[in-house]
Symmetry: C2
Subunit: 326 residues, 2 copies
């Protein structure tokens, strides 16, 4: 209840309700502890979720994704500046799903966000995959919930990687920004990575470099080719040089346009319901995995599968039967 540092076991001291109250009062250390609790898969998570529930659902959640080197941190930092200038409280979650074993996010890129480190209206946090059941996919929406409950008006979720990570960010965010940089394969790369489908706004960053116009027109062309129902959102494409703040106003305008479209078409509630459904399902599945682990016997079944005495489906059926007998 009184500790100000994390204990040697990684446990987070302080009662959850007190921490939530302090987080809502703007104490960044309380916010940090609550996110640590989420990241650790702490047993008090249900208590935390219940304490936060009445205060959540207000924040605008913006996802930001792209390959390494496109300038995600610089763009995030520029957006933080713009939202701060508009008077918003801003939370940043820098999610690094690519480090599943090491237990620590690579923080180098975060340095670029240091300009906001002393601003009490900005909360910045890196999250890596601690490897507990459910992992980052389960922890990230709950961390968003903490920042939301703590009163952030805008939450930027930045993630690196290709593939599943982007999909997760897209399912988490109200608006998903996909960053590209000229000369990185651009449009073709976007198609290969499956990110053309998830971007609400595409950002050609480093737009002062050679190939920026080609990348812009390629993406515009691909967006034009995509099948789209009447009234469906047509992704915007914005050119930025985030390191010099160029194009950031246009980017914020595109985000606002998307937000307007979401609210006037009931899409915001629909996206958020899908997000909540995925979150609830992830919690259920984590609990079920825990039951399977507690039950034991999976190793024995696996050994029989390896020996060809049993097939995986028959083994799975016997586990399901056992879970049902419970």
């Amino acid at each position: 209840m009184t500790g100000t540092a994390r204990s040697a076991t990684g446990a987070v001291p302080g009662s959850v309700e007190v921490l939530v109250d302090r987080a809502r009062a703007g104490d960044p250390r309380a916010v940090g502890r609550l996110i640590t609790l989420v990241e650790n898969g702490d047993p008090r998570l249900p208590e935390l979720a219940a304490a936060l529930a009445p205060y959540t659902g207000k924040a605008q959640v913006i996802g930001l994704t792209g390959a390494p080197g496109v300038g995600k941190s610089t763009t995030t930092s520029a957006l933080v500046g713009a939202f701060r200038a508009a008077g918003h409280r801003v939370g940043v979650l820098a999610v690094d799903p690519s480090s599943p074993f090491s237990g620590g996010a690579v923080l180098g890129d975060r340095v670029r966000m240091q300009e906001h480190a002393t601003d009490p209206g900005v909360y910045i946090r890196s999250m890596s995959n601690r490897g507990h059941l459910g992992g980052l996919a389960a922890a990230t929406p709950q961390a968003v919930r903490v920042l939301d409950g703590a009163g952030c008006d805008v939450i930027l979720v930045e993630t690196v990687g290709v593939g599943q990570a982007e999909v997760d960010v897209a399912s988490l965010a109200d608006t998903t920004l996909v960053l590209l940089a000229p000369g990185m394969g651009d449009a073709i790369q976007a198609v290969k990575a499956g990110i053309l489908e998830i971007g609400d706004v595409f950002v050609i960053n480093k737009a002062d470099r050679e190939g920026a116009d080609a990348a812009y027109h390629d993406i515009q062309g691909m967006i034009g080719l995509a099948a789209r129902a009447p009234g469906e959102w047509r992704p915007r494409v914005v050119r930025t040089v985030a390191s010099r703040q160029e194009g950031i106003d246009e980017l914020v305008a595109a985000i606002d346009k998307h937000r307007q479209w979401l609210t006037t078409n009931d899409q915001l509630q629909q996206r958020r319901r899908q997000r909540a459904a995925a979150e609830v399902e992830a919690i259920v599945l984590a609990a079920l995995r825990q039951r399977i682990a507690d039950r034991g016997g999976l190793d024995q079944l696996a050994a029989e599968v390896v020996a060809g005495q049993q097939d995986p489906y028959t083994a799975a059926r016997s586990i399901l039967a056992e879970l049902d007998r419970r």
Copy 2:
């Protein structure tokens, strides 16, 4: 039973037992149909798994991963040539997890493997994420099982991407190869991507390019720094120019060395048991997700979570209670 083409609905004709017999007799079309069945999440999968079980467990499974552009397909093709020269039957699964929505793998790279297309001792198949429950993570081990049951001595599983995809490949393979190319960020990039922990053999491909020696020494240095128990495998680093077959013999020798280590240390059985356990668990979880979907009501709970009337843990508990009442 007689159809030679897939029906319009995507259903695979032919009884599973007949297809398994034909696959075991070396009919590539039968192998192809069985993998399509796996990829589609066909209801006959349990029947297929049971039919295959007695014939599996013989193949050597080699995973091959790395960022786009490092030369994965070229290296795979060179390895196929080497294993064919040694008299082995070879299966190749080119897994593309980065295309979750489009329903089709990007096949361009596969063209480089065409030199083996007419060799009856080689079976090559691309797999993409069809989006059904469980997805590629569930389908890939079963596709490996098909190739194993069909008599492939060596199965190469090639995957693109950064992050979770590599981890999945590592958990699937007896031996995991991580490909790097000079000038792509190299060692630092490997650490960021979390792949230093999963590689049994590191391949510096395009080793004739500038920066290859630096990359080689960087990786060697990082391997040297990693904590390792006595008797634990120390990853090998091999330099190749796969497009000219250079270094491929050394790569095969490193793979053999790792295989020897696996067998003399009972690691092979342990890895395979872990793999089988993950496979069984994935089937159980897919079945449970189906139950949750069949039950309905998740949407209503999600709407209550969005409205702040319920928290996700309480919602999850009510689903678990419902599943238990079943």
